[in-house]
Symmetry: C2
Subunit: 321 residues, 2 copies
DNA sequence: TAAAAATACTCCATAGGTATTTTAT
DNA sequence: ATAAAATACCTATGGAGTATTTTTA
């Protein structure tokens, strides 16, 4: 009924051998198989490609053109297979990665060189955004993976928690709390609590630490900053206290003498960071590579999940205070 | 095992619909058929072309490249079919025709315009030569058909007699034979018989008319000319007599008053003209068209064979003397 | 007569169908 | 709950084999 690639391959073999028996050998089939196939093709095309003689099969003028076209078809098929061959490596080709604002600035500087080393053919296209936007972009196929904070349950998306990160109280160096070893969460509401603006999941996570905080927030008694860095500057300038994730407590530069940090009293509040991706995303190895790279960032101060601890590299992404 | 054109068509359908059910409809198959085929193709290529979601099937980046390549493959297949479509007409494309020297000059001027009319897309590539050379060229695929004199039995070649043509005795106007109505063949040896050189089948046909001629020829008492025209001039100048085929007795111009023609006594000797071609030549219609065109040349003086007489066109290829 | 292609037939792989289950929203 | 795709299973076409015949040089 339809012309097939096999038939075209037989045509080419016959063009090369000009002899049904030898062409069949070249094509690794029996002579009748090739004979029947070529005849079928000629019937389908309504054209005689080969003039059969006892001595040799001669190509007709129209047959010549058809065979040349057959070469082109088979050439394009080879090209297709070559493309597939190239694309077979999941760790090749860009990965579009989204990161929430409160992780990106602290993780990426460490993650990118590591990923560049482990998967040099997988450049990252990075987008920083709120969790909600990242979610949408993942679903819309605008992103391939995202680094977000748990809980993160979205239909169609999978996630894989990578590490737990504790929260730390940050205050000016001359704050009364500097006299204490630990700060109880429920006392946060008594101070000027500086927080990120609405939309940041970290803001909500901090607010959930104590009922009073939530209330004082509804009463608009908290102040907002547009990034953790901004907030840190505000705290350093004495405007109040805040809570930061462990990873954002960096090698303090100028401000180092102006800020003090204290852990929470009791069980340390944490956030869980995870990688999320479309369930149907067809490059699971890319996700694994991403996870591995994150885990190789020195986990001091954070708790790696699911075994697979990274080696003790000392230029880790968290340099403990 | 191997990738098929059908699979590529399914790929394209799915690319257009981004939905397995609709793509199946577009490809006129059931949804499972298309699903299985696409999955098989992806397995064969080792690459995920489509990301399946509830909503729609999304093309992956590598899938995009593969689909584009699939379009190219199918495009070349279409081109191949278009070529075949073009070549399907046997009356299209050049026909390489050989003609023996003693027919060409008299038949071709009439044949070519007729063929141009009946089969305008089949130009003639013409070669005049001896029967032996034409035979070789036919077998070597250097010619497609030839017009020759019978008998013509060559393995691998078919032939089809078209017409019988009588022989005529030609003499100077002042020759004694002009007194007679008919000339007995066996008296030819008594005269200066002018003949074509060796190689021309017509020479041998004339020599076979009488035993004496053959003998006088072996004794090198005949004279040779290089073409029938040359011989006619020689006869007109009084050098001797000759025998010509009917078709070469043209509208006599200057020489008309210098030449006389007489039929043979008894059963008129004739030659039978035929079309020959490779048994395997795949354009039988071209042969038929050629035959028909020859037969449309006015057959006055020649005997058409196999019925199928041409209409009474009066500018026929033979204008009786 | 010998070589080559075509035919006859048999078999089985697989493309395609229908019915159903699984999956994901 | 529903829509979509995947799976299970069955059927039939036709691609490929072997054995044989036909063709033709």
């Amino acid at each position: 009924m339809h012309i097939t690639l096999t038939e075209l391959r037989y045509l080419v073999a016959l063009d090369k051998e000009r002899h049904f028996g030898r062409a069949a050998k070249r094509a690794f089939v029996s002579q009748p198989t090739l004979s029947v196939a070529v005849k079928k093709l000629e019937g389908e095309l309504g054209v005689t490609v080969f003039e059969r003689n006892r001595g040799e099969a001669r190509v007709t003028p129209i047959g010549r053109r058809i065979i040349e076209q057959a070469y082109r078809v088979l050439g394009e098929v080879s090209a297709l297979q070559a493309v597939a061959e190239q694309g077979r490596d999941e760790l090749k080709g860009p990965l579009r990665l989204g990161v929430i604002y409160t992780v990106g600035p602290y993780l990426l500087p460490h993650l990118i060189p590591r990923l560049h080393e482990s998967t040099p053919d997988m450049p990252l296209v990075i987008e920083e955004n709120f969790t909600g936007n990242l979610t949408q972009q993942l679903r819309n196929n605008e992103l391939d993976a995202a680094i977000v904070a748990m809980p993160f349950e979205v239909s169609g998306l999978s996630n894989w928690p990578i590490y737990d990160e504790s929260f730390v109280v940050v205050m000016p160096h001359n704050h009364p709390w500097t006299e204490r070893e630990q700060i109880p969460a429920n006392e946060l509401a008594n101070e000027n609590l500086l927080l990120l603006g609405a939309g940041h999941c970290f803001r909500d996570q901090v607010l959930s630490l104590c009922q009073d905080c939530r209330e004082s927030d509804s009463a608009r008694r908290t102040k907002s900053g547009s990034s953790l860095e901004t907030i840190r500057h505000m705290v350093a300038s004495g405007l109040g206290v805040t809570v930061l994730p462990q990873s954002s407590i960096p090698n303090l530069s100028q401000e180092s003498r102006l800020l003090e940090t204290r852990p929470f009293a009791g069980a340390a509040p944490t956030r869980q960071i995870a990688i999320a991706w479309r369930r149907s995303f067809p490059r699971p190895k890319a996700i694994s590579a991403l996870r591995d790279a994150v885990m190789q960032c020195d986990p001091s101060g954070v708790t790696l999940l699911h075994g697979a601890s990274a080696s003790n590299v000392d230029d880790g992404f968290l340099e403990a205070v």
